[in-house]
């Protein structure tokens, strides 16, 4: 337990130094969420058509309000999943057919979710807002997530049972 607290404290310090949006949300929570956001990728199987090539980037789109600042860019730097480097894109409006693999729909991005409905996109929602395949929740002060497997199936992506096992709630 001690090292967990220590690592969270460290992340907090990092966030403070790099000057995240400290005032709006507690930055530790978003640092964790930023890390989780890209770590979902290894546990998700996209259809082969979702990538242009074997080393085409895996694109994480941030729609609506961006709570991460550059924490996400820092987290994905140098990381790869199955040979694909990460790329973070901030988008104002999401249109169908946009090249997104993971879509983080911040507050008020409901139409963005609709835009990628039934497209091979892992949608992630936050802050009590539902509708995404994965939804961040806070349980006893820890960042956890719920998974809507039916929605994932609807979008044509597969989520590893390992990830399902860690979810606080799985909707089938």
């Amino acid at each position: 337990m001690a090292h967990v607290i220590r690592s969270i404290a460290l992340l907090a310090l990092l966030a403070a130094v790099t000057g995240g949006s400290w005032a709006a949300e507690p930055p530790i929570e978003y640092a964790v969420k930023a890390s989780y956001l890209y770590k979902f990728a290894p546990f998700v199987q996209w259809p082969a058509t979702a990538f242009a090539g074997p080393s085409a980037p895996l694109i994480i789109c941030i729609a609506g309000q961006d709570p991460f600042g550059h924490m996400l860019e820092d987290a994905v730097r140098g990381q790869r999943v199955n040979g694909h480097p990460f790329e973070v894109r901030h988008v104002d409006t999401v249109r169908p057919g946009m090249p997104c693999h993971i879509l983080y729909a911040g507050g008020g991005a409901t139409e963005a979710l609709q835009a990628v409905a039934s497209a091979p996109v892992l949608t992630v929602t936050d802050g009590g807002q539902g509708g995404g395949i994965i939804q961040f929740v806070t349980v006893q002060g820890h960042v956890r997530f719920a998974i809507n497997q039916a929605a994932a199936n609807g979008n044509g992506i597969e989520i590893s049972s390992k990830l399902l096992g860690l979810a606080v709630k799985v909707t089938r």
């Binding site: 290894p42 546990f43 820890h142 997530f145 390992k162 860690l166």
Partner: protein
């Protein structure tokens, strides 16, 4: 068969040099050590593989919990690892390389950062690291330290096998050494036995010769008497014309000659160098046949009396050794009676019963001599023990008796009273074999019905003349050849002959036996009878299967043998 001979060769080689056995044993030891080392190495490699597999399983299980900071799940996995005593230390490290959770059971604590690149063995511990990754994304790493088997446990495992192995090697070496020593001892024993047999043979002959020496004086004296009878008889024969007187004189001469012939025959048989050859015999008959020899080898003031039971059981002994034994005892008796006396030789059956387990035939030789003191009685059978003065006895006489009785399965006892005399008892086991049948004499052939021709090969002119005269008297036509060559020539020139009678010892290239072989080769149906005065020559003739006449022989014996030979041969035309 091949494998057996190979094994035998190997064992022989082992026996020759026990070092080969030790060499094989050491080779086995080295081979097993190498095998143990190889096994140990294999086991270590397998163990590393096993721990690596377990580390990978742990890493795969930890991907989710590590990626999403699920402490509970992480701890559960680590606890599961902890439950196995095999693992000394398990550490889970995050993406930044720092320790997230883990345990170290003993010894040094977990490293703060996981720097293990590849599996290594540190002392008794195998240290393995595995990457935690999902979809090609590195999420952290695990560190697993597993205890290898301790030296003590491994040694314990091998100790049992090693003990068995060492025992086996020891056994091989001991067997080899034992076999070597046994075969060496056996060789020594065989050599010793051979040496002893030779010595015993020589001793027997020496004993016989000593008895001969004892006899010779008496025999020579007796022979002179016989010759005296013969020569004076002949002289008187020439001077008288009274037919009754002449017949009496002729009878006396004939008897003297017969006794002399028996005597020399016995001496020759007695002196013959022959191996110990037991035969079934009638003891009474054998002892009685010794009478002449005994009476003449002892002094005139010593009487010999026989007390032989009529229905004695047969015994199986060497006859000449029996003669020697009885003569030796009789000579001792003679020497114990310097003033004359009586030797009583008895024989009777002793049925089994009491201490005696078998039927025995007991021969007793009792004298009326000076007796033997009790303290010397035990020593009389020892070789070279003698009470006689130097030059008169060798002390081998009674030891021959003892040795002969022992080798015949019998026993010898001696009873003596000083001043009254000594009795020696010889006990022989009864033989289960019947007595050999003696051929019934056919007297009907004394005079030949047909005048068959007999060729006589004899170098001695006087003997030849007499033999031819006897043959003519028997109704045969006789012709003489002085040598083997001459006999063959006569056989070719003037034949045919019904039988050839040949002396065995003749001058020239061919002796009698060679002549007999040559005749058999030329005319297989022509019978050959050999005659000789030498017992050794007689033995070789008998061995070849030729009928034999032992010189001197009577006309009756001559007629019988020649007649038998003619009857066996197919009828020959009369010349």
């Amino acid at each position: 068969m091949n494998a057996r001979s190979l094994l035998r060769r190997l064992m022989t080689a082992l026996a020759r040099t026990p070092t080969i056995g030790i060499g094989i044993a050491s080779l086995l030891l080295v081979a097993s050590l190498a095998l143990a080392y190889h096994n140990e190495d294999q086991a270590r490699v397998e163990k590393i593989r096993e721990v690596e597999a377990q580390a990978r399983v742990l890493a795969a299980s930890l991907t989710g919990p590590l990626a999403f900071d699920d402490q509970t799940a992480t701890f559960e996995y680590i606890e599961a690892m902890k439950a196995s005593p095999e693992f000394d230390a398990v550490g889970v490290y995050g993406l930044d390389g720092r320790l997230v959770a883990g345990f170290a059971r003993s010894g040094e604590p977990l490293p703060r950062t996981n720097k293990v690149a590849r599996s290594t063995v540190r002392g008794n511990e195998i240290v393995v690291a595995a990457e935690v990754e999902q979809g090609g994304t590195r999420l952290g790493s695990v560190y697993v330290g597993a205890a290898t088997e301790s030296w003590a446990r491994r040694a314990g495992r091998y100790l049992g096998i090693a003990i068995v192995l060492v025992m086996a090697c020891l056994l091989v070496a001991v067997l080899g050494a034992f076999y070597a020593s046994v075969s060496a001892a056996n060789r020594r024993l065989e050599a010793e036995i051979a040496g002893r047999e030779e010595a015993e043979e020589a001793l027997r002959q020496a004993q016989k010769m000593e008895a001969m020496g004892q006899l010779t004086g008496g025999v020579a004296h007796d022979f002179n008497n016989l010759l005296m009878v013969a020569s004076s008889g002949l002289e008187l024969l020439e001077r008288t014309t009274d037919p009754i007187r002449r017949d009496r004189l002729k009878d006396g001469i004939r008897q003297a000659i017969e006794r002399g012939a028996r005597l020399t025959q016995q001496l020759l048989t007695f002196a013959r160098r022959s191996p110990l050859s037991p035969e079934v015999l009638d003891v009474g008959k054998r002892i009685r046949s010794l009478q002449d020899l005994l009476e003449r080898s002892l002094r005139e003031d010593i009487r010999v009396q026989f007390d032989l039971a009529a229905d004695l059981w047969p015994i199986e002994v060497d006859p000449s050794q029996l003669d020697v034994a009885i003569l030796n005892i009789a000579i001792n008796a003679r020497d114990a009676m310097p003033d004359g006396g009586m030797i009583r030789i008895g024989a009777q059956n002793e049925p089994a019963g009491g201490d005696q387990r078998h039927d025995m035939v007991r021969i007793s030789i009792r004298d009326t001599g000076s007796g033997i003191a009790p303290d010397l009685l035990e020593k009389v059978f020892e070789p070279f023990f003698t009470t006689k003065s130097v030059g008169t006895g060798t002390g081998l006489g009674l030891s021959q008796v003892y040795g002969f009785l022992r080798s015949s399965g019998g026993e010898v006892r001696i009873e003596s009273r000083v001043g009254e005399g000594t009795t020696v008892f010889l006990l022989f086991p009864r033989s289960s074999q019947p007595l050999p049948r003696t051929a019934a004499r056919d007297l009907s052939f004394n005079r030949a019905k047909h005048h068959a021709a007999v060729l006589v090969a004899e170098d001695d002119e006087h003997v030849a003349e007499l033999v031819c005269e006897m043959l003519r008297e028997l109704g045969y036509n006789a012709k003489r050849g002085a040598s083997a060559a001459e006999a063959l020539r006569i056989l070719e020139e003037s034949g045919p002959y019904g039988v050839v009678l040949s002396d065995m010892i003749m001058p020239g290239k061919m002796n009698g036996l060679d002549l007999a072989h040559e005749i058999v080769r030329r005319e297989p149906d022509l019978p050959v009878v050999l005659m000789t005065g030498y017992s050794e020559a007689a033995a070789s003739a008998a061995a070849e299967g030729f009928p034999l006449l032992v010189k001197p022989y009577t006309m009756e014996a001559l007629g019988e043998v020649v007649g038998q030979a003619l009857r066996r041969a197919p009828p020959q035309p009369v010349p």
